[in-house]
Symmetry: C2
Subunit: 415 residues, 2 copies
Amino acid sequence: MSKISTDSYKGVRDFYPRDKFVHDYIVNTLSQTCESFGYEAYDASILDPAELYRTKTNDEIVNDQTYTFEDRGGREVTLRPEMTPTVARMVAARSRELGFPLRWYSMPNCFRYERAQRGRLREFWQLNADIFGVAGIDADVEIIALAHRLMTAFGAKESHFEIRINDRRVFEQIFDEVGIDTGTRKSIMSLLDRRAKIDTFDSELGELAGDKAKKLTQLLDSAATNPLLEDLRSRLATRGITNVVIDTSIVRGFDYYTGMVFEVFDTAKENARSISGGGRYDHLLEMFGVDSIPTVGFATGDVTMRDFLEAHNLLPEYVSPTDLMICVLDKDTTSFANEVAQKLRDQDINVAVNYSYKKAGDQIKLADKKNIPFVACVGAQEIESGKLAVKHLASREEKELSVDEIADHIFTHEL
Amino acid sequence: MSKISTDSYKGVRDFYPRDKFVHDYIVNTLSQTCESFGYEAYDASILDPAELYRTKTNDEIVNDQTYTFEDRGGREVTLRPEMTPTVARMVAARSRELGFPLRWYSMPNCFRYERAQRGRLREFWQLNADIFGVAGIDADVEIIALAHRLMTAFGAKESHFEIRINDRRVFEQIFDEVGIDTGTRKSIMSLLDRRAKIDTFDSELGELAGDKAKKLTQLLDSAATNPLLEDLRSRLATRGITNVVIDTSIVRGFDYYTGMVFEVFDTAKENARSISGGGRYDHLLEMFGVDSIPTVGFATGDVTMRDFLEAHNLLPEYVSPTDLMICVLDKDTTSFANEVAQKLRDQDINVAVNYSYKKAGDQIKLADKKNIPFVACVGAQEIESGKLAVKHLASREEKELSVDEIADHIFTHEL
């Protein structure tokens, strides 16, 4: 038999227990914060019909980055590159039954075929949180307040991150004023989205806007004083959110945005990437032939969040899910060890029984390696006395306890 | 713009909040039970190189049921149809660093291209739990004890399900005795696996085993008295597990099993399917060119588990994640409502603020529809008095409380 590689597929991750611990910490903190704001969890399959992404996700993603293939029945399916079309589909499907306003969150994994690099992998998880059915600025403010709270829930200070806000309507007002036609607007928006990455902005804008380019540039450069943006910033300040900057270079890549857009940036230099981003998209549901529902939402990526927490030293120490390892010293005591273990499990103590029958020292070393806080050895002597010497590995403290006393002892220690 | 369908892809599920609630209940109960036995969580991407499944997953799955496609770089990848090859790959990759015995669990989604039917969908989640590094029967017993505990953790009684045990070594002993060559053994095992579904068992066995068929059938029919199986059953009885039957028709479809195999069956007639299944596979890691590690494990499917819990009326009532809806009566009080909401969130109360500015009655109806237990309306009067009338919708009990009293009131009610 030829040897098979142990490598995972390129750009995706294996989550060993310590990686999973960090991932769960991030997912749980995000989820609990969303629930504290009244959001309900939903989910969907990673597979969705390919047509779902064709019109409203941006062209770069659809043409170059999706994982799209035919199933055995000839249906074209895509591994979702983002969650918004899926959640729009789900809400559209039941728009008459679901009560609005609707607050929903999810923590899906998504796939994009990209070159793997810092903060960017082919598979990532992202929190998606959306409010459906509120047209006004209250929902815009809440969505940004939630994105802000997510950061502070991890212990971040306002100096660790910056919220950059903009509004698609500001561009529309300028396009109206200058007289740019609808087709050209989309091209200019796409150009603005790439502005920071390219040297040819002025010449490309000249090609698109002709003699209107100069006036357009002037208006775009002074857009930051637009009252829409000032109003949003002042409402956020009222909620105690002060690390907000108006940044008219924030466009967001997706075609479906119609109003406020924002991004949350890490202020650490080594990780100068967007952690969260989102905005208002009031017309997306129309593609399913239902009435549009005003919606605002955002997404937070797990990879950039992990980088952020690492950069600011906000990740917690690993804690083993197991409280106690019972080290069995010989086969005659296995049955007794299993019995003790089950008694403790019934009292909410997580217990692993070591069936290796190695020397006590080797078994204790394994518990230590796995960060299991307590060990107890079981041999003929323990069966006779009915008492176990329960050792706390970090403090080396050992206590002789009857089986009934062990759970309390462990709980007291863990408090 | 042509209308896009709101249907999900065939054979997968959309999890609306109430579906997600049930799914999370199942996932959390399974996870907590595994952790109580000292298992650590791991995870991996749904995408793995296609070669991983070619040799050891069974032919029907690989040839007819996998979702396999080429990525944009020409790599052949598969949406995992099961987790065992992935976990074997992960353990093999770090077999020198990981300390054994190793107890791992995961709750991956898996894909198989099948005709959707009761208990079977194209995408399903399954708990996978494995012990690596214990060759003896202790681990076999624990794995079955864990599968049993998973059922009782949901409130199931032993009469609700049945554990059917068998051992691949029993077949090997019989094949040795009759003198069946290695190539033919695999075909006979595959035939035995299909035995219950086909009418042509005797004729097919005749073709495979020739004049040895008669002796083979005799030995297979008396296999249930094998001491290996009796020993396992009596050890399970010692642990209080008594709904165990020896069933030599249990083969399990995967080629990698080498010892004990078992399935957990629902005793409800309408759901007579296997909920859990697994066994010992001591040689799988060799395909990665590392030393083999004795392993025993099993999987529990979410679809069959849900059907089981429904059949026996063991699913919990839906509980909203939101404790309180604050109904804002006019735009002048929004800021006050947001402030109250944030104070309560800081005390671990989950609060949704309703920004619809509809009539109080309509807002309260929405809270009721969403099963949110408490509502409080906020208008000019509440700002002035600093007191809110907090109403418990189920009991219609209403209490006037200062902001500082609300959290305690809600906690007391929820206990």
